[in-house]
């Protein structure tokens, strides 16, 4: 009967609570005012979520249910309808939270103090030293156990995927050059941790094994880390509050890639096109990490930084643009898009492809997409080939660049393969 003793004890404890006068009323009112107040405020100010309507539409309609049952049978449709309902509920919860006016008001100032001054990790952003910010998952790529020692069943083994891609391109007479681009903490570890060495790159535990495995399978891999460390002697090669490199870092990487191509892909003809760098322009902008901490408010919280951007111009003086008839195709993620895509806020026509084009003195074709560096550009290339747009026609080499963190985090989609023939 011990449990009943516990119950009696609990009753007694609660029953013997003593309060100063007015305390129970104050506490109860506080909670009620808080939860109902925030609810009311959010409903009054919300510009997007008609709550009742959303709640009513959470469950699939009778029509959807009968359709699914007819299509998939009772057992399967139970699970697919359940998945749909669950997805709707998760979306609603996330929408309510994201659109919360209270959250929007508090986010930037709270992050300014918690992350900016005290160093709390939030929204995947880590505070470094001297006002630098780092992307948490990219740092985890370096501190983690090594991407080749984790279970690769679901997201694919990058070595296998890159080898297969290399073989598919080789069957078309095209060489593949892979360039995993080091994450910011690789090259500037001293801005994250005082004890980290400033004179060499910190790599993932699997880095060497990865490069050796590619080499053993005949896949050309260009490691631009050393070039970036050398360039760092003249100043930062990564932006302080953005996850990408500075124009200087990108130039160093482009030079390293150009030297690698000249040495390892000698069949690529020397170009003679007179591309030139335009007049440097100063651009001030908030980095992506600053925006993650203070959406819409980064500038207000002094998190902008400036760069000297140089666009590349063609022989005719026109801004650089990809050329599908070139012998080189660059596949790249946001590291290739920064300074190239106007929308990223750091200027246009001066990205990695443009600078590589200038250094190689020949036009370049480029397929780039922000995010999902492990598969997005390969997927777009395959889709183009499938719809008859032969982006590989006349190519000698494909340069595949992606943020090295993709090796730990990316979905490599082993099922993606170049079609055997262009339709």
């Amino acid at each position: 009967m011990k449990a009943i003793d516990r119950e009696k004890q609990a009753e007694e404890e609660i029953g013997h609570t003593t309060f100063s006068r007015g305390v129970p009323l104050f506490l109860s009112t506080l909670l009620i005012a808080l939860i109902f107040g925030v609810f009311t405020l959010e409903r009054l100010q919300s510009d997007s979520v008609p709550l009742v309507d959303d709640l009513l539409h959470l469950a699939p309609s009778a029509h959807d249910i009968s359709d699914t049952v007819a299509r998939e049978g009772v057992r399967k449709s139970f699970f697919s309808l359940n998945r749909a309902l669950l997805g709707n509920m998760e979306r609603l919860a996330s929408d309510l939270e994201r659109s919360s006016p209270l959250r929007k008001t508090l986010l930037a100032p709270m992050n300014r103090y918690l992350t900016g001054y005290l160093g709390a990790q939030n929204a995947d952003v880590l505070r470094g030293r001297d006002g630098w910010l780092f992307y948490g998952p990219a740092v985890a790529h370096l501190t983690g156990p090594g991407f080749l020692s984790t279970d690769l069943t679901e997201r694919g083994d990058p070595v296998e995927v890159l080898t297969a891609f290399h073989e598919q391109l080789a069957a078309r007479g095209i060489k593949l050059v892979v360039a995993p681009l080091p994450v910011k903490a690789s090259i500037h570890p001293e801005h994250l941790s005082g004890g980290a060495p400033a004179d060499r790159a910190i790599q993932s535990a699997s880095h060497e094994a990865f490069l050796a495995a590619l080499d053993a399978r005949g896949v050309l891999a260009c490691d631009v880390s050393e070039a970036l460390i050398r360039a760092k002697a003249k100043g930062p090669v990564y932006l302080a509050r953005d996850s990408h490199w500075t124009p200087e870092g990108m130039h160093a990487a482009a030079e390293s890639l150009q030297a690698f191509l000249r040495e390892r892909v000698p069949e690529l003809p020397q170009g003679d096109m007179a591309y030139r760098a335009g007049t440097p322009q100063s651009i001030e902008h908030a980095g992506d990490l600053a925006v993650m901490l203070a959406p819409e408010d980064a500038a207000r919280y002094g998190m902008n930084e400036s760069i000297r951007h140089q666009a590349v111009e063609g022989p005719d003086g026109a801004p650089w643009a990809p050329d599908p008839s070139s012998k080189v195709l660059l596949l790249g993620d946001s590291f290739a898009n920064v300074f190239e895509l106007e929308g990223m806020g750091w200027g246009a026509h001066g990205g990695l492809a443009a600078w590589l084009s200038l250094l190689l003195r020949q036009p370049l074709d480029a397929i780039t997409q922000n995010g999902d560096g492990a598969h997005a550009t390969r997927q777009r290339l395959i889709q183009a080939l499938q719809r008859g747009e032969d982006r590989l026609a006349g190519k000698e080499v494909v340069v595949f660049v992606f943020a090295a963190r993709e090796l730990s985090l990316g979905d490599w989609k082993p099922e993606l393969a170049l079609p055997a023939e262009v339709r």
Binding site: K2, A3, I4, R6, E7, Q9, A10, E13, I14, H16, T17, T18, F19, S20, V23, P24, L25, F26, L27, S28, L30, L31, I32, L34, V38, F39, F79, N82, A93, L96, L102, R103, L106, L107, M110, L114, G119, A120, Q121, N122, L126, R127, G128, V139, A140, L142, T143, G144, P145, A185, P189, L192, S193, G194, G195, A196, P197, I202, Q203, A205
Partner: protein, 475 residues
């Protein structure tokens, strides 16, 4: 849906309280049950069918048990015995299937592969999803049939009342495990007072603060250190201390909030934590840690196995067995078996040594420190993803080893002022501040203002933090 979420605090809770207090009294259990099913179904709507099945089985078993007279200690009919067996078997079968199917298949396949009989392996394509809180509500539901069988509670005639007990959202998914006899009377009649609501608010504020201000940052440190490929000995100890604080503040915070929400609905749930890291032995630790589980295992398993009534050797074996099962209850993995084995071994050793136990002879502070160290070292098995990872971590704790270059970055993350302050606060509160029950027993204005400030600060932090897991949701 977790208590420390935007959806729960500003949408579910207002709706639940409004329905509970706004509708006629006789509908309260019905709407409480409906809200509990919504709360539970939010994790995965299909899980509600499983909970409903478990509830139906035990409700029917209860009715069967009640068809014949039940006197405490008196004889039981065959029908009553059969009803009890159906309840226990069905609940344990549900638990075993959903919690241990994958583990069983994987272990069998590893064994068969080690013997070179790969062709006899089972297909592992079928993976079972663990329903949220199944470990908790099957225990609760089963306790009802056992309590009725033992004559310690009366069978419930009203299905809604019983469904309300099994599904009650405050303690549904992560406890405390509330046995039927502990709330049977309250289900029939309970008071709703401003004092209860007020103390519930104080409990909730303190629970939310423990979760958001202490458990989350400590959890962030623990995640960084445990997920690292390698770490220095200093980082390893720091990460382990952080995990010890995280699991305590996270779980006790959940219990505090559960008790708080219970009070707001007029229920009084028993204490689940009693400053466990102030224990001076592992035996004492288990009187203070997850009390609802340890007493459940004691009353329904240890005593059923014969307890200490069948000789010394059997007592030790029972202690070990109960802790091994307690370990497995937490999760289907060899890590939990080892964790249970460590605690079972310590309980048996302390029992064997009795007053000769060195821990009893040491000054209180030293005994506390040693007990905390033992409990923390056992947590390594609780936290590490696999047994080999746990062993590597233990090796890291013991000193030099191969430290990868990436480990140098860890210090830049985990020794930030925010984390150092959180760790210092966690240590200070663990060993010198009163626990929630004591703090809220006499609510003066200064204490009340503390609670109010903590509530507001926690909500502000909650609105802006992206890291907010609840450890015990996976058990």
């Amino acid at each position: 849906m977790v208590f420390s979420s935007h959806l729960f605090l500003f949408y579910f809770l207002p709706a639940a309280l409004l329905l509970y207090y706004g509708l006629p009294k006789w509908t309260r259990h019905f709407f409480l049950t409906v809200m509990s099913y919504i709360f539970y179904g939010w994790a995965n709507p299909s899980f509600v069918f499983l909970m409903l099945l478990s509830t139906l089985i035990d409700y029917c078993c209860g009715l069967l048990l009640g068809r014949d007279p039940i006197e405490p200690g008196g004889p039981r009919t065959r029908r009553q015995l059969a009803a009890l067996l159906v309840s226990v078997t069905s609940n344990l079968s549900l638990l075993a299937f959903f919690k241990y199917f994958n583990f069983g298949v994987d272990s069998y396949n590893q064994l068969i592969a080690a013997m070179g009989w790969e062709s006899a392996q089972w297909d592992t394509l079928l993976r079972i999803t663990l329903p949220l809180g199944i470990s908790f509500y099957t225990f609760q539901s089963m306790s009802y049939a056992i309590d009725v069988y033992r004559g310690e509670a009366k069978p419930v005639r009203n299905f809604i009342t019983f469904a309300c007990y099994v599904s009650m959202y405050p303690q549904l998914v992560a406890g405390p495990i509330v046995r039927f006899r502990e709330v049977a009377l309250q289900l029939e009649t309970r008071t709703h007072t401003l004092e209860k609501f007020g103390r519930g608010t104080a409990f909730f504020a303190l629970g939310l603060a423990k979760k958001v201000i202490l458990a989350n940052p400590c959890g962030n440190i623990a995640d960084q250190v445990f997920d690292a490929g390698s770490r220095s000995a200093l980082d390893a100890w720091y990460g382990l201390a952080a995990y010890s604080f995280q699991i305590y503040f996270d779980f006790s915070a959940y219990s505090d909030m559960a008790i708080a929400l219970g009070l707001m609905l007029g229920f009084v749930f028993p204490k689940n934590f009693d400053s466990p890291y102030r224990a001076r032995s592992i035996t004492e630790f288990w009187r203070r840690w997850h009390i609802s589980l340890s007493t459940f295992l004691r009353d329904y398993l240890y005593i059923a196995l014969g307890g200490n009534r069948r000789g010394t050797a059997r007592t030790y074996a029972n202690l070990m067995l109960v802790m091994l099962i307690g370990g497995l209850w937490h999760g289907a993995s060899w890590n939990f078996v080892v964790w249970g084995g460590i605690h079972g071994g310590m309980l048996a050793a302390e029992r064997a040594l009795g007053n000769r136990s060195p821990l009893r002879r040491l000054p209180a502070g030293v005994g506390m420190a040693i007990t905390f160290a033992i409990a923390s070292l056992a947590w390594v098995f609780f936290r590490a993803a696999t047994l080999p990872e746990a062993l590597v971590y233990l090796a890291n704790l013991s000193g030099p080893g191969t430290v990868q270059p990436g480990a140098a970055l860890l210090s830049g993350i985990v020794y930030q002022p925010y984390y150092l302050i959180s760790m210092a606060l966690a240590a200070g509160i663990t060993w010198s501040a009163p626990q929630t029950w004591d703090f809220t027993r006499h609510l003066t204005w200064p204490k009340t203002l503390w609670c109010a400030v903590l509530l507001l600060v926690s909500v502000a932090l909650l609105m802006t933090q992206s890291y907010n897991p609840f450890i015990y949701f996976i058990f």
